[in-house]
């Protein structure tokens, strides 16, 4: 065994993106953590951090959050909407991704292009199109409208990772399974589905997390009862100008998502083994 040589170019290449992420992702995230413990400014923004050389920190926003059920309720509703959106995306995307992955190479490129095509038009215009569509059947401003809009907007983010995964499957595995006695249903559940789990997880993350933060769709398509965390956060920053509360809500959302991700990784590990 030879030890891999330390290559200085590797560091040089990864330095710019690292610096970029440190400056524009990690630093703001830390500032947000700090902001959640600060007082709101008199006219919006934040109150001065130091008064007479003493740091002005408070747990007020957290007390506020945990003191009122309404926030927990919005959180819960948001997670339910995100979960439903993810589920519907998965149910719609899986057959589509499988069809694309199993069609001829030329058809495949065309179909992938069609999946990406909606991105060519503006997101808001597409949501307004849904307003026009959902208006006449009186479905506008309902939870159904919110979820339909969410599914529509996020569907490509489920299709693409699934397709990328399914396209790499070795067709010989299915032949082997069939040869050894597995019917079509069994082949799917024993071979295709378990092998596509990484694609499902990637798609789930790409749909579930953005849906949690989405505020435009509930605002445009949903009713008054369809407020999600995204709306709540946006309101704190843009309407109420309560930056500390907005920061707290964002932070708690991040923590909740990370906890969920950790839980699923742990559950995935625990399931392995056996005959």
């Amino acid at each position: 065994m030879t030890r891999p040589r330390r290559d200085p170019t590797r560091w040089l290449v990864s330095l710019p993106p690292t610096l970029f992420l440190l400056a524009f992702f990690l630093a703001p995230a830390l500032l947000m953590v700090l902001a959640s413990f600060r007082h709101p400014g008199e006219f919006g923004g934040l109150a001065p951090l130091l008064v007479d050389g003493k740091p002005q920190l408070t747990l007020e926003t957290y007390r506020f959050f945990f003191g009122d059920w309404i926030y927990a309720e919005v959180f819960l509703r948001s997670f339910i909407v995100a979960a439903l959106t993810t589920l519907f995306c998965l149910l719609l995307a899986y057959p589509l991704a499988l069809t694309i992955a199993r069609s001829s190479a030329r058809r495949r490129d065309l179909l992938v292009l069609l999946v990406i095509l909606p991105f060519a038009s503006n997101f808001l215009i597409r949501v307004y199109a849904w307003i026009i569509l959902l208006g006449p059947p009186h479905l506008l401003y309902t939870t159904f409208a919110v979820i339909a809009g969410m599914v529509y907007v996020h569907l490509p983010f489920m299709i693409l990772p699934l397709y990328t995964n399914l396209e790499k499957h070795d067709p010989t595995l299915l032949e082997a399974a069939q040869d050894l006695g597995a019917d079509a249903w069994t082949r799917f559940w024993r071979i295709t589905f378990p092998l596509s789990l990484p694609g499902i997880w990637a798609g789930t993350a790409l749909v579930f997390i953005p849906v949690l933060g989405m505020f435009a769709i509930p605002e445009l398509l949903g009713g008054t009862g369809d407020i999600l965390i995204g709306n709540l956060i946006k309101e704190q920053f843009l309407d109420n100008r309560d930056w500390p509360l907005g920061s707290t809500l964002s932070l708690l959302l991040t923590v909740a998502v990370l906890a969920l991700a950790g839980l699923s990784v742990w559950a995935g590990r625990a399931r392995r083994g056996g005959i």
Binding site: A176, D179, L180, G181
Partner: protein
């Protein structure tokens, strides 16, 4: 009754005939090999036996019953794929037990057969490993175990040794033969390697362009090739253009163009050609003797020529001799004999000879 019978199977892909009126019968317990160059149709035959493809014409019979219309999952025929096709998300045990689960065997029986089969392929200690943790030879054994565990009527093997390096391949060849004897299951083996075919098989069908050129034991195929394709494809062969002068009492008198007459005693089972027929006389390199001193002149069949080239291979040396009529012959001499090796050099005048019972006459 043969376990598997192919009756006049034809299968076309566009203008290409992958199987052209193929008839074969394979006996129970046999190690049968389909041998041929790539594209000769051997894999197509295998896929039709497995059920992944159906013939355009002809019939396949397993234990006397037609197979047509029965999907692969319902045929008591399992395949070992060239790429092994192990399920990457399943452990060795899960992979090997897969056919039993599909057959709905009870848990106790699965455990018993699994332990037994893993033992058979020396993988008992790898049961909990995943395919990506195994070496090429181990993967190969998992694929074999998975194919054998549910005791299929036939095990089809599609170039299963192709991905292994030379040393490992030889070891696996031995294991494969031993395994087949032990389990007694009929093996249908597909390969393009004549060495593999000769070493493993009880019978070989040599295929070319969708047709079966010859079926026989490895020795028959090697010693008595039926035509030029088989002679050429199996090992190295020297071909002398000849004309039949007479064929009497099991003896052939042949005239080699530009050289002279030879006598041949063809092997009993081949039909004698008739006088006046043209063809080629085929000789294996190891059937030839070469000398500078003329010892080979005691043999009736001998011609003089010039040594053009030698190739030292350690155990043997290959000599290229140009006969006086311009035909090149290849002779193979073992290096144990004291007189060989250094005594020859390119440019030497030599005599090449062979025994009466060496070589076969091939029709054009």
């Amino acid at each position: 009754m043969p376990i598997l019978e192919l009756r006049r199977i034809t299968r076309c892909f566009g203008p290409l005939k992958a199987a052209d009126d193929v008839s074969l019968s394979i006996e129970a317990g046999e190690f049968f090999t389909l041998l041929g160059p790539s594209g000769c149709g051997k894999t197509t035959l295998l896929r039709m036996i497995a059920g992944f493809d159906e013939p355009d014409a002809g019939e396949l019979l397993l234990d006397g019953r037609p197979l047509s219309g029965i999907p692969p999952e319902k045929r008591p025929v399992h395949t070992v794929f060239q790429s092994y096709a192990l399920f990457p998300h399943m452990s060795v045990a899960q992979n090997v037990a897969f056919p039993l689960r599909m057959a709905g065997k009870p848990e106790a029986e699965i455990r018993r057969l699994l332990a037994e089969t893993l033992e058979l392929v020396h993988l008992s200690d790898k049961a909990r490993h995943f395919p990506h943790e195994l070496s090429g030879g181990q993967k190969q054994r998992v694929a074999l175990a998975r194919g054998l565990i549910n005791k299929p009527r036939l095990l089809l093997l599609d170039e299963p040794l192709g991905a292994l390096d030379a040393k490992l391949r030889e070891q696996m060849e031995r294991e494969l033969v031993a395994l087949q004897r032990e389990v007694g299951i009929t093996f249908v083996f597909v390969t393009h390697s004549q060495q593999e075919a000769l070493a493993l098989s009880q019978r070989i069908a040599v295929m070319n362009e969708g047709r079966v050129e010859q079926v026989g034991s490895p020795e028959q195929i090697y010693r008595i090739p039926r035509n030029r394709f088989v002679a050429d494809f199996i090992g190295t062969i020297n071909l002398l253009p000849v004309e039949v002068l007479a064929a009497t009492h099991g003896r052939l008198h042949l005239r080699v163009a530009g050289l002279g007459e030879i006598i041949a005693v063809p092997p009993g089972e081949s039909a004698l050609p008739v006088a006046g027929e043209h063809g080629h006389f085929a000789l294996r390199p190891e059937q030839l003797r070469v000398s500078t001193h003329g010892e080979v002149r005691e043999l009736h069949n001998h011609f003089s020529g010039t040594l053009r080239d030698t190739l030292y291979r350690g155990d043997v040396t290959v000599y290229k001799v140009e006969l006086d009529n311009g035909v090149m012959l290849e002779a193979l001499l073992t290096n144990s004999a004291p007189l060989r090796a250094k005594s020859f050099a390119p440019g030497d005048a030599v005599t090449v000879g062979w025994r009466h019972d060496s070589g076969v006459f091939l029709h054009d």
